[in-house]
Amino acid sequence: VKFYGVQIKDRQRVGNYTLLLYRWRGPVEPGQFVMARANGYTLDPFLARPFSFYDHDGEVASLLFEVRGRGTALLDRATQIQVTAPLGRGFEIDAAGGQVALLGGGVGVAPLKVLSRRLDELGMSHDVFLGFADARTAEVAREFTGSTVATMDGSVGSPGTVLDAVASLEGYQAVYACGPNPMLAAVKRVVAEGSICQLSVEERMGCGNGSCNGCVVPVRGGGYVRSCVEGPVFPAEVLAW
């Protein structure tokens, strides 16, 4: 895998999360992802980490992440990072319109920002629902104007999961969601039959280019497919959750 060095233009603290901004031209589809690492090729950490594009305006791309281990801790401090992108299949937007709902859980809200931007460009109105653990992680919700929030500890918005922030998903033509896999499975269960439902999955990855078969998700009819190449966004009906 070939990586490219990019200079960090800006770093913002958003509650518990970090937002890294860097110059990145070229096409990015909402839902596509980046393999990123702080210091080039190193033995520890050895692998790059996958992150959804949080935003991309044609000139500047950004990644939203939570420091969870050494790899993300180093990215958090880096002034230059290495990336390979854009990877994977993003959200397929049905321009036919109708009411659209975006659902995000925790740091999984990341791809919804650039998706929301795309929907705005297409003139498609959409509602954003976000679920977080607590007030600190929920701070990123301010980046999503007009979003409806739920927190597990009840400190912000309605108490409970993102689904507790949504009165009903009926009436939405399309639902796009990203978050922990149990959340996505729950979203899949409540989306009205006949609606479009696309889920961006979270899996550990080795390579990001389809070679290692490490990042698979189970699919209906048996077997597994790779989230890095066939995903990370899947039509809900494809997944065996």
Partner: protein
């Protein structure tokens, strides 16, 4: 066993003429000419990633095929370790029929090696017979050592008797094409001798090493599988070295190769061809080749000069 002529340097006063890069890199393996001594390790190069390796590899080796489709193991399948990763993929593949239907996608105009794995001796034999008849296939690698598939228990994969039996059946099934036996570290010398005796044309040394990662926060096993990456390089190097001392057939060496210098080391230890696997996830394989070319330039050597060319008296 006497193999190779050792390093052939220009003597005092002799001008070593710069050879063209192509000539300098080419090696021969079982009568097949490879433009470079690098090939992918099985299971580390997807069709989707072929564009990234143009001009790097001397042959292409797709992921192992089994007779029938295999779903593979449930996730999580990979876990990072310092200098490597543990994987438990479980030989996910679409089965032989679809594998052969889709094989043209791997045609980069390079020799095509096919890795096969069966659950039984008979399955190995049947696979070899079918794959061997395919004119697109230049050679077959027998995956005798995948740590993630309990093919009749480890003994089936890792004892000299079982290796000899499988290789002999495959040899009979593929009279006209080279077969390589891919071995695990455990008992590698004995298994190498058994494979050679049974008619293997070359040996792939070595597969991943059985390993375990644990998530202490959740008190759970994360991944129980095979360790790959630079962490295993010295072990693999030792395996190649020990095997090369006792067999006469060529060796496809690999295990943690991540730089051009690693390639040189494996060849010096006795490999004719070097497999790049996990490192291709974190480095551009082109850089590894470029580093190897720089090494050859600096040493004023060609790739073929390296194999088994350690400066020592070998017994």
């Amino acid at each position: 066993v006497c193999r190779g002529a050792g390093l052939s340097r220009g003597g005092a006063g002799v001008v070593v003429r710069e050879r063209a890069t192509g000539e300098k890199l080419a090696v021969e393996l079982c009568g097949i000419t490879l433009k470079t001594p690098l090939i992918p390790a099985s299971g580390t190069l997807a069709r989707e990633a072929l564009g990234e390796v143009e001009g790097v590899y001397g042959a292409i080796l797709p992921k192992t095929t089994t007779p029938e489709e295999r779903a593979g193991n449930p996730p999580p399948r990979v876990a990072e370790t310092p200098a490597g990763m543990v994987n438990s993929i479980g030989l996910q593949n679409p089965g032989l029929e679809r594998f052969l239907q889709e094989l043209d996608a791997f045609d980069l105009g390079l020799p095509l090696f096919v890795s096969v794995a069966g659950d039984t001796v008979e399955e190995f034999g049947a696979l070899c017979e079918k794959v061997g008849k395919d004119e697109r296939v230049a050679a077959i690698e027998l995956n005798l050592s995948c740590p993630n598939v309990e093919c009749g228990g480890l003994t089936f994969c890792a004892t000299p008797a079982s290796v000899e039996e499988v290789v002999a059946v495959c040899r009979f099934a593929v009279p006209g094409k080279p077969i390589f036996a891919k071995l695990t570290f455990e008992g590698v010398v004995e298994n190498a001798l058994a494979a050679e005796a049974a008619g293997a044309d070359a040996l792939t040394v070595m597969n991943t090493i059985p390993a375990l990662t644990i998530d202490a926060h959740r008190q759970k096993v994360l991944v129980r599988g095979g360790l790959s990456g630079p962490a295993i390089k010295p072990v693999a190097l030792r395996a190649v070295y020990e095997v090369s001392r006792v067999v006469g057939v060529p060796i496809l060496g690999g295990g943690g190769v991540a730089s051009g210098m690693d390639v040189a080391e494996f060849m010096l230890a006795g490999a004719t061809v070097v497999q790049v696997g996990t490192a291709s996830f974190v480095r551009d394989p082109k850089e590894i080749l470029d580093e190897f070319v720089s090494y050859l330039d600096g040493a004023e050597l060609g790739a073929t000069d390296l194999t088994g060319g350690l400066q020592e008296i070998r017994s």
